[in-house]
Homo-oligomer: 299 residues x 4
């Protein structure tokens, strides 16, 4: 298939590379074109604006936040991606964005009679590189069906959430919330254990391996227990952005979510203490400091 990929951060680049590897014809666009180099070497073509990537079978957008996607979708003067998108080109939005923006793009796409699928993903960049993302997709069935071969190349599973695109985004935000809640749970438990001079690595083992039996608990728990917060994989600031979107969805929906408030405040406190560029797991350091436990982080 002919597929455009707009947005070549860690996630977008990994997705594009996997699509190329699966034999698709890829056209890429990124605001700063040097990020495209590696993909061009793999055989991708370069578009000079988002519109230039929007006339194949699918155009994937994978951008950093609402602002970036809004600019791409609507352009500065109404001449954005939606305007130039092919009549049969599916706009496959994989960014983590607000339900509100998903709704707005969906409405504009309906008005322009252009197919739109919202399909945010779970998985950090290393998971994207392995082509093992979890996709949550929403939109009309036939449009989703037309993305199947693209999904095959980048995801280990695709979950169809329904036909209203923004619902996929709410599912994604709720999933992010579950991850952050696990991190904060470890953060507080470890603070309690460490204050009592108890080996938190042992606790991690009991929890991750014996009890929850979850590789995700192992992975995140290890980052926290080892105090290795310069993973480079993700940052507090990015996770806070996603948490903020979840909070916006909660308030718009009039749903009290006290855990979500605690999480948002933990991320804000981490930023306030100058830890915004570290791994989100660094909120464990905030919890430990509030408990009077001094962490000699191995940075």
């Amino acid at each position: 298939m002919e597929i455009g990929v707009v947005g070549l951060g860690n996630m977008g680049s990994a997705i594009a590379a996997n699509l190329i590897a699966a034999g698709h014809e890829i056209t890429v666009y990124n605001r700063s074109p040097e990020k495209a180099k590696k993909l061009l070497a793999l055989g991708a073509m370069l578009a000079h604006d988002p519109a230039g990537a929007a006339n194949g079978d699918i155009v994937i957008t994978m951008l950093a936040n609402d602002d970036a996607l809004e600019k791409v979708a609507f352009g500065e003067d109404g001449d954005g991606l939606i305007e130039h998108q092919g009549k049969s080109t599916v706009h496959l939005s994989m960014s983590t964005i607000s339900a509100q923006l998903a709704r707005k793009i969906a409405a504009a796409s309906v008005a322009a009679n252009k197919p739109f699928v919202s399909a945010p993903v779970m998985g950090r960049p290393d998971v994207a590189e392995r082509g093992e993302l979890i996709v949550m997709a929403a939109g009309d069935k036939s449009s989703i069906a037309r993305c199947k071969k693209a999904f095959d190349a980048i995801a280990k599973s695709v979950h169809v959430v329904g036909d209203r695109p923004e619902r996929a985004n709410i599912v994604k935000l709720a999933a992010n919330f579950m991850i952050s809640a696990m991190i904060e749970s470890f953060a507080e438990a470890f603070a309690l254990l460490r204050k009592n001079d108890i080996d938190h690595h042992l606790f991690l083992q009991i929890m991750a391996t014996e009890f929850f039996k979850s590789p995700i608990y192992e992975k995140y728990g290890k980052i926290i227990a080892d105090e290795q917060f310069d993973t480079g994989a993700f940052t507090v600031k990015l996770q806070e952005k996603d948490t903020r979107l979840a909070l916006a969805a909660a308030i718009e929906s009039e749903v009290p979510m006290p855990f979500l408030n605690v999480i948002e405040n933990a991320f804000l406190s981490a930023i306030g203490h100058g830890k915004g560029e570290l791994d989100p797991c660094v909120i464990a350091e905030i919890a430990a400091e509030n408990a009077g436990v001094r962490i000699r982080a191995k940075r």
Copy 2:
């Protein structure tokens, strides 16, 4: 080995039955002796007071709360279990109790020169029946070693936390906290999804099977998603008791734990709304009601 079992609730009875099945000689005591019937039929002997079960190789106490264990351990007039415990009989305390009481019993045991091991467990009654408990043990090494055959009959793993008995209790309370945090996380996420008419069973599947890949997430998530809160396995009131102990440990240790506060308040609210005898997962109903989602619980 000769083993006494004091306290024949669901947990104590399941432990005693597994010890009998493994060939140990069991003497049981319970305040209301009718609970012993089934075990007597399996070959257990009946003691008429805790002291009567405290002179074999091990005496296990498995009681409902601090009060119950304190009465057993110290008696009404100083003539409790510790007083009558054999010099070489290990008192193996498996109840979920406060760090404070564990410390007090440890001190009294040292003063009386009687071996004491604190070894609370993870696992609901069905897990205890299958002999698959997770044990967290603390005390002196030789005393813990002498309990090995008992552990073999009732547990799938034993984790030695250290030599200060109360630390095993703090680990147990921290583990309970992790479970409650998972429940509240689901509760809030489901409230958000349901308010937006999104299928929360699908979310559960993505989370439990695809992402966390955790049988515990599956088990608890299913209770919540199915709104089957009359499991009989455990109750809000019991979980609130354990949460209260965790909170006491946190405050005594001067560790702020905002998630723990949210959890405690959720359980108190459930009690306040007359749901104290239902499964702890019923806090999802509280979250849903606060969000204006009416649950037609299938009770």
Copy 3:
């Protein structure tokens, strides 16, 4: 002076009436004109659109929320109040709106070279009727100075917060937060007292009269202690709207505010339980119900 008043809810009407009483020439506009009747009888003139009220010395806008003010200020097709505002007419915005919208209107006013003062107020409608509002004003000094006679007619005090208009809005949102925090404080304290069968009216007297010596504590405390939540003065839904704006300001500013989260959740829970049209003080009922205290509200 010639003063336009756009928005004739309880607050706007009371302000207009006081301006008339002080001898000013008033032109009023409201989307549904029947609300103007009483003011016309007092001598006001009627405008047929916001622009028609925007060419005197001052045009006051007092609208229900961001949406309403945004429509008035910018119109549907760019032909809003700012467009038609006289070159020397001060737009005096008294609505409780987001810092974000204040910033947007300020920027548009600068671009159009029209004077803009943001001046939200404290005081419920009865205070507005008595002309005793507290005004927090921000904008350029000369524009604020030109509003002096209008302020004299409606306010007991005017506080100049600075020259960046949105700062007045943040002060207003922070002030609202202080009120809500007082309400929630009473709510929780009363729940504790009532659960212990202690006379909460006595507590109110000690707090309001003896200790804080604050008429505001007396006023709000009495509503809560008397459980008279159908005051008609204000509603949970309106207060939640303001709280939401405060939360938006907090998050935009990256300021963790856990009390604010508790308050927002309390209002959302009140809405979720069908109490959204009652006085904001009704969150005391939520606190009492969560504590298992049944309130026989005298509704």
Copy 4:
């Protein structure tokens, strides 16, 4: 009257001095007797144990915490104040203690047929020195009546809460909660204002003088706005102790109090960050730091 005063901290000393000034015959006791010097110079007599002060008309206990009062009341081997208290001597307990201990002393006093009145106070040491404490008293009416002349010398008002002594303590803990809630409210509001470069002294003036019109808001707000946290009047650690008692009362009563949790966590965080000996208002510094506002405290 003949009055014993047990416990000569800042509060007890001020109370004793005022009683002497009012013409009463005072016998004092303190564990470290040097604290009695100033009072002896004013005419007080010195007792060598609590019992030695417990045979006049009244014996006041004013001690730092539960532990201290429990030791005085019950002694080490059952030979405490209650044992030696005169049959007609009213034990007037003014310490801020838990409801639980008040209940325990009340029960022991009834069993020994000795009069007991629980009468905790509001007011920092400077208020005590001026004889302007607010007293909340509970116990049987005749015993309270017999304390009238003592109250006249030390308090500006006495509020009778009922006949069950521990209720006065719950009222006191609830009142403390109201104060802490006001502090945290200012702390968060100021953090928001400062992050937006808004003058928080102006906000304080609007709130304290114009809106709440409360001298208490003025007093505490000024400490916070001036960042003068070495008042010497009270400390985080002492306030945290009282908050902990309130939390114990809330949990024992099964009353969710989310504000109280936030407050307790704020105090614990202050302790964790080494600010435990400063004024409780220092939690404003914690809020500011979490918001990324650096405070140049004038210490």
